[in-house]
């Protein structure tokens, strides 16, 4: 077996056999799936049933407010002194302020803090009922108003692909998801590479190894070995999380997570309106399968997967080689700080720019960052998924990334081979620069 392969094999097997790997592999998805389910469950549970007393001295509430199983409304035209409210079984008192029709304001007094679900239901009901009262005052037919109020529904199309509706934003989200995944992976496993290098240096194992293998082989073996550990873990996570979520959903019953219901209960009016608007066309077809199919059809899946793999691997190689160089240069974890910051900064910028790219793919910052190799993996991912990157731009960005990662790996290799054998020296940037020029 060749030496680099032997090193990769050791890095892989020793890590995969660690109890912590097994624990993380099983616990990770459990935590993620459990977290999703727990949040959905907790969100749907309201511990206290609220009896809401609405003080409506001006008599603007013309129709009954809708109760839910957690919120019941009671309306009274008289003011309630605080002491009487406190002694009453009501948990919330709402005072509609004077002149509520022209200046819609209300004060809410509670005994226990109501949840956001309860709050938004109250807000929603008051909005509707006051709107109705105002329509009546202006002598407008509510049904006519509903017809008038219809918001403009804009569907966008790419002129090159007339006939298909363009879901650029949704597609960008897919790209962002891939980019974010990449960010997490590169960071998690890049830091593991750094730790591994530091461990070898602190243990002085490296002194023994270096007489049989070249430093570069050692560095690349570690980087590749850890990448394989990461791939294995992620594949297992996807499989386990997928299984758990499917099982969990079918046990708890999927109907509870119907988005329109969630929207009615929980979201602010604007978001709800938007969501409901989006739900409308889907309402007939039961679920939004058509739209999902449309989005998926529009995303060039083979291209996205190929770019994902390419940027994933090259981005990981770029960052992990730099982190390996840092690990080799320092004596202890605390010394890594000053070198970590400049390496992590571009990644954080990349994530921010990728978010901008979802909203505004043509922004110059997005275009530039999709070329700069330190940010391009994440940002270009969004652009490719959106279909907003011409082929030449994609190829240029890829080319630049390859050239840069070859460059950084070479630089890292030079720092590494000096760093691993250097102890007890406070390392500065200048010092690192000098190491580059030491003769083999």
């Amino acid at each position: 077996m060749n030496k680099t392969r032997l090193i990769i094999w050791r890095e892989f097997t020793t890590r995969v056999r660690k109890p912590s790997f097994l624990i993380m592999t099983i616990l990770g998805p459990l935590l993620i799936a459990g977290g999703i389910l727990a949040m959905a469950w907790i969100g749907s549970q309201e511990s206290t049933k609220h009896q809401v007393l609405v003080i409506d001295t001006e008599g603007v509430i013309g129709r009954r407010l809708e109760d839910t199983d957690k919120v019941s409304f009671f309306i009274d035209g008289n003011q309630w002194p605080d002491s009487v409210f406190k002694a009453s079984p009501y948990t919330i008192r709402i005072n509609l302020l004077p002149d509520v029709l022209n200046d819609p304001k209300a004060d809410l007094y509670y005994k226990t803090v109501p949840s956001e679900f309860v709050m938004s239901h109250i807000r929603n009901q008051l909005d509707k009922t006051i709107e109705l009262a105002r329509l009546k005052k202006e002598q407008i037919d509510p049904e006519a108003f509903e017809r008038i109020r219809k918001p403009v529904d804009i569907d966008s199309f790419d002129i090159e692909k007339v006939g298909t509706q363009s879901y650029a934003q949704e597609r960008a989200m897919i790209g962002f998801f891939f980019g974010y995944f990449m960010f997490i992976f590169i960071f998690m496993y890049g830091v593991q590479v750094m730790r591994g290098v530091m461990e070898e240096k602190q243990n002085r194992v490296v002194e023994v190894l270096i007489s049989s293998v070249k430093p570069f082989q050692l560095m690349m073996g570690k980087i590749i070995g850890i990448a394989l550990v990461g791939f294995t873990q992620f594949i297992l996570w996807i499989v386990i999380t997928g299984t758990l979520t499917v099982v969990g959903m079918s046990v708890l019953g999927a109907d509870r997570y119907d988005p329109s219901e969630l929207a009615q209960q929980g979201m602010t009016t604007e978001v709800r309106d938007q969501l409901i608007k989006q739900q409308m066309p889907a309402a007939d077809s039961g679920f939004d399968q058509e739209k999902v199919a449309d989005i998926i059809k529009q995303v060039n899946i083979p291209l996205v997967l190929v770019t994902f793999l390419f940027y994933f691997i090259c981005g990981y190689l770029l960052y992990s080689s730099l982190l390996a160089a840092i690990g080799s240069a320092v004596d202890s974890e605390t010394d890594t700080q000053q070198f970590m910051f400049p390496v992590t900064l571009p990644m954080i910028i990349a994530i921010i720019v990728a978010q901008i790219a979802v909203m505004n793919p043509a922004s110059p910052a997005v275009i530039w960052c999709s070329f700069i190799p330190f940010t391009s993996p994440i940002v270009m991912m969004v652009r490719v998924a959106m279909g907003s990157a011409p082929l030449w731009q994609l190829l240029l960005s890829m080319g630049l990334l390859v050239i840069t990662f070859i460059g950084t790996t070479w630089l890292a290799g030079r720092i590494y081979r000096t760093g691993i054998l250097m102890y007890g020296k406070k390392i500065s940037w200048k010092e690192l620069g000098k190491w580059l020029f030491y003769k083999g």
Partner: protein
């Protein structure tokens, strides 16, 4: 076997090695001596091709060394460690395979070594369960397992108790008897006298002494003899007259010893001739300087101007 020709190495402004030329003859034990920070480890790293020289070259069997030659060497570094979480057997196997042995071959040889040293019980232990000395034994085995023709040991005895130090010493002698060339760096001067045929002494990046141990010791001899006698010390001193000088004396009960430095132009026979009528001679022995003293003399003659920070020492 191994020739170092005019090797220099600089790290920025700091000169680690300055024109070192030395010869390590085959089938012998060569001692690389020098105070901390002298450049020994740097020289060893150049020989083992971990780093390259700025000037000069290293020849193996008369030919410039190539990367492939590293497989014919076994190197035990001064600062040595093992992966703490790995099992002993697995780790030894890994190191052996990195040296180019096949899995089957490495397993067979390792089992044999472990049996010979009575440590077969360690195979499935984790390295972190071993003491420092135990770990060093494993490291020694992995250094010589692939039967290299040249073995380089940096401070092989450090961290060993006397029993295990003897074990290692005997292994070194056994290897040398089998025709292996051994180069070792050590601060233990008695081991140098006992083991080394030749030495090279480096100080402040320069080679200060180089050659056969016996000859060097002779060269450093001050022509001083220890004479055991019976009689009066003052009379002995007077009797010496111009043939020698009394430089020291020890009197214990009935046992007297005088250290006499023989004057230029005289021989030990002249001295004895002078003394015989005065005192009864029981024994005469030349004082051969110990390596310890030679080391100190060689290094202090070449005084440090300022403190030097080396790579690892």
């Amino acid at each position: 076997m191994l020739q170092v020709e005019g090797v220099s190495k600089r790290f920025g402004d700091f000169t680690a090695l300055d024109g070192i030329t030395m010869d390590v003859p085959p089938g012998q034990v060569f001692g690389l001596l020098g105070p901390n920070g002298a450049g020994k480890t740097t020289l060893i790293r150049i020989i083992t091709r971990i780093t390259g020289p700025d000037e000069g070259r290293v020849l193996l069997d008369g030919k410039p060394m190539r990367d492939a030659d590293v497989a014919r060497m076994g190197y035990l570094p001064e600062e040595r460690g093992l992966y703490k979480k790995m099992k002993v057997g697995e780790q030894a196997l890994y190191l052996a395979r990195l040296k180019g042995l096949t899995k089957a071959d490495a397993t067979k040889r390792l089992k044999a070594w472990f049996e010979r040293w009575g440590i077969d019980g360690w195979w499935n232990k984790k390295v972190e369960e071993l003491s420092k000395g135990m770990a060093q034994k494993v490291q020694f085995i992995t250094t010589v397992l692939h039967e290299p023709k040249l073995i380089i040991l940096d401070e092989p005895f450090s961290g060993f108790d006397p029993i295990n130090a003897d074990l290692i010493r005997n292994e070194i002698i056994r290897l040398r008897n089998e025709g292996v060339t051994v180069m070792l760096s050590t601060h233990s001067m008695p081991s140098v006298e006992e083991l080394c045929d030749n030495i090279g002494l480096i100080d402040k990046a320069r080679l200060m002494l180089h050659g056969n141990v016996k000859e060097i010791r002779k060269q450093y001899a001050t022509n001083t003899y220890r004479i055991e006698y019976d009689g009066n010390r003052v009379a002995l001193g007077n009797a010496l007259s111009f043939t020698g000088e009394l430089v020291g004396a020890e009197d214990r009960d009935d046992h007297h010893m005088a250290r006499v430095r023989i004057a230029k132009g005289s021989t030990v026979n002249d001295v004895l001739r002078q003394l015989l009528p005065t005192v009864a001679i029981h024994g005469v022995q030349e004082e051969v300087p110990r390596m310890h003293d030679i080391f100190i003399r060689a290094v202090s003659e070449h005084q440090p101007e300022n403190m030097v920070v080396g790579m690892t020492e």
